[in-house]
């Protein structure tokens, strides 16, 4: 029993180090190849469209609902204290610093990260990645670099958009249901928000984008078996991205809280 438990733990630890080592190796190679010619803009633009433009509807919907929910939940607390005026500032700060970035990253990890793993995984099992190598094309340069760049650039832009939609959701509730004037809501929102809030919120999404790109590409490249393997890799990709994004967010938040209070 104890032997089994030790073996299990050993196996899990080894696979964890194998995974993190693999991700780091892929990331370093992708960073290096990003600056190595030739530079092709077509695959990059195509990926920006898939990551950014195509994600707009779902990000809009989720951000809007989060804004509405947050305003209502905050109102529930603030009305008890008779401090409805704080709703606008609480909604703004919560969304810009935390909810906008994390919700957008999780939505994109589920939508785009899963699609990347499934696509690269299918390419892997049908020998398309081998075929790329035989045609003297580096699969990391050809497949990973455009996805990594698109995710690292589009995720902050999507987050900025989600922040605006979330605040709009809060505004809609406050103005229509809580009798706060539109001018007052906007005034409080912009007065409360500091540049630091926006910066810390957006800066971490660049790293979230990288996490999604490297985890999803790594899982896709390491698919074993046929359709079942692709399914398993896609699940691992989403779960690992979620865990890493939240863990990194926790670390990042603590870092900014203690270093730049």
């Amino acid at each position: 029993m104890i032997k089994k438990a030790i073996l299990f733990l050993g196996k899990k630890t080894a696979s964890f180090f194998y995974f993190t080592g693999g991700i780091n190796k892929l990331a370093l190679e992708a960073f290096y190849l990003t600056f190595k010619p030739p530079f092709k803009e077509k695959p990059f633009i195509e990926q920006c469209r898939k990551v950014g433009v195509d994600s707009l509807p779902i990000v809009s919907m989720v951000a809007f609902f989060i804004g509405v929910i947050l305003a209502l939940q905050t109102a529930y607390q603030m009305q008890r204290l008779g401090s409805e005026m704080y709703i606008a500032s609480i909604v703004a700060v919560s969304i810009v610093r935390e909810l906008g970035p994390i919700i957008t990253a999780l939505v994109v990890a589920g939508r785009v990260g899963a699609a990347i793993t499934a696509e690269l995984g299918s390419m892997n099992v049908t020998e398309q990645i081998d075929a790329l190598e035989t045609l003297a094309a580096n699969p990391v340069k050809y497949l990973v670099v455009p996805r990594f760049l698109a995710l690292s650039i589009m995720l902050p832009l999507l987050t900025l958009y989600a922040d605006a939609i979330g605040i709009f959701g809060g505004w809609l509730i406050c103005v229509n249901k809580l009798s706060i004037s539109s001018g007052m809501y906007t005034h409080i929102t912009f007065n409360t928000l500091l540049f630091k809030d926006l910066f810390t919120g957006l800066a971490k999404t660049v790293f979230f984008g990288m996490i999604i790109a490297f985890v999803s590409c790594y899982e896709g490249f390491n698919v074993q078996g046929g359709a079942e393997g692709v399914g398993r890799a896609t699940r691992h990709s989403v779960v690992n991205s979620f865990i890493l994004i939240i863990a990194f967010d926790c670390f990042f938040t603590a870092f900014f809280y203690f270093i730049f209070p």
Binding site: Q128, D130, A131, T134, L135, A136, A137, N138
Partner: protein
């Protein structure tokens, strides 16, 4: 002179030994056919020559150069002189047929769009297809996909072509056309080829030499006539497609 040489190659996947101290010589401009049962390591052998897999032991020489210690840039230049036809075609789903066939020309050559279009059409005509450049691989039948893969391999006029079961899954007429094409590339352009197959009709038609892979080793090698008249019971069972014989006895023994 040997164009491709494998010296004492060994390769295992987990505990299963796929190639076991295998040695192979392919002369420049000749066609070498590797026969053997499915799953005996024929495709693995081809992937070693393309540098997609690394052996645990042994040396691989292509055009006189050892590919195992070769820097990436040199390996890529060598790959430009080689073409590979994968078993399932391995066409890129996200690209059109034209972009697939002209992949190397689009990526690396300075040819204009029209010139590339012309070269692609020429390659497609050689495999009996034309006017399908705008289609995507998902719109093609299995046999057509295989022929497009063949067109992609020959589009850059390579010196070496590696074929992984080029006639499997295509109709007999197309299979014979593919055999003629491989023979033609050999006769006219002196292309060095390694063809992995278990289609004996095809093997006799295209081969200069045939080698049989069994349990990780080349157990027999010779001209098509020598193989046809081989006294080796393993070769005899395989080339005659017999359900009973030493190969099946070996399998029963390991079960």
């Amino acid at each position: 002179m040997d164009m491709i040489e494998l010296r004492n190659i060994s390769k295992s996947f987990e505990s299963h030994k796929v190639l076991d101290d295998l040695t192979l010589h392919v002369k420049r401009g000749s066609t070498f056919v590797v026969i053997g049962r499915s799953g005996c390591g024929k495709s693995v052998l081809l992937k070693h020559i393309e540098g997609l897999l690394k052996p645990e032991a042994g040396e691989i020489f292509v055009d006189g150069k050892s590919i195992l210690s070769m820097p990436d840039a040199d390996m890529n230049s060598l790959r430009m002189k080689m073409g590979m036809v994968f078993q399932g075609g391995a066409l890129f789903d996200s690209l059109t047929v034209g972009e697939n066939v002209g992949f190397s020309l689009i990526e690396y050559s300075s040819l204009t769009k029209d010139q590339i279009h012309g070269r692609v059409e020429e390659s497609l005509k050689l495999v009996g297809l034309s006017g399908i450049q705008e289609l995507t691989p998902s719109e093609l039948s299995g046999g057509m996909r295989k022929r497009v893969a063949l067109a992609r391999a020959i589009c850059t006029n390579p010196d070496i072509i590696l074929y992984d079961e080029p006639t499997t899954g295509v109709d007999p007429i197309t299979a014979d056309a593919i055999n003629d094409l491989i023979r033609g590339l050999h006769d006219k352009l002196r292309v060095t080829s390694i063809v992995v197959t278990h289609d004996m009709k095809s093997a006799y038609k295209i081969a200069d030499r045939i080698g049989m892979l069994y349990q990780g080793k080349l157990i027999a090698e010779g001209s098509p006539e020598e193989i046809q008249n081989s006294g080796n019971p393993f070769v005899h069972q395989f080339i005659n497609g017999l359900a009973q014989g030493p190969i099946t006895d070996d399998i029963k023994r390991t079960l």
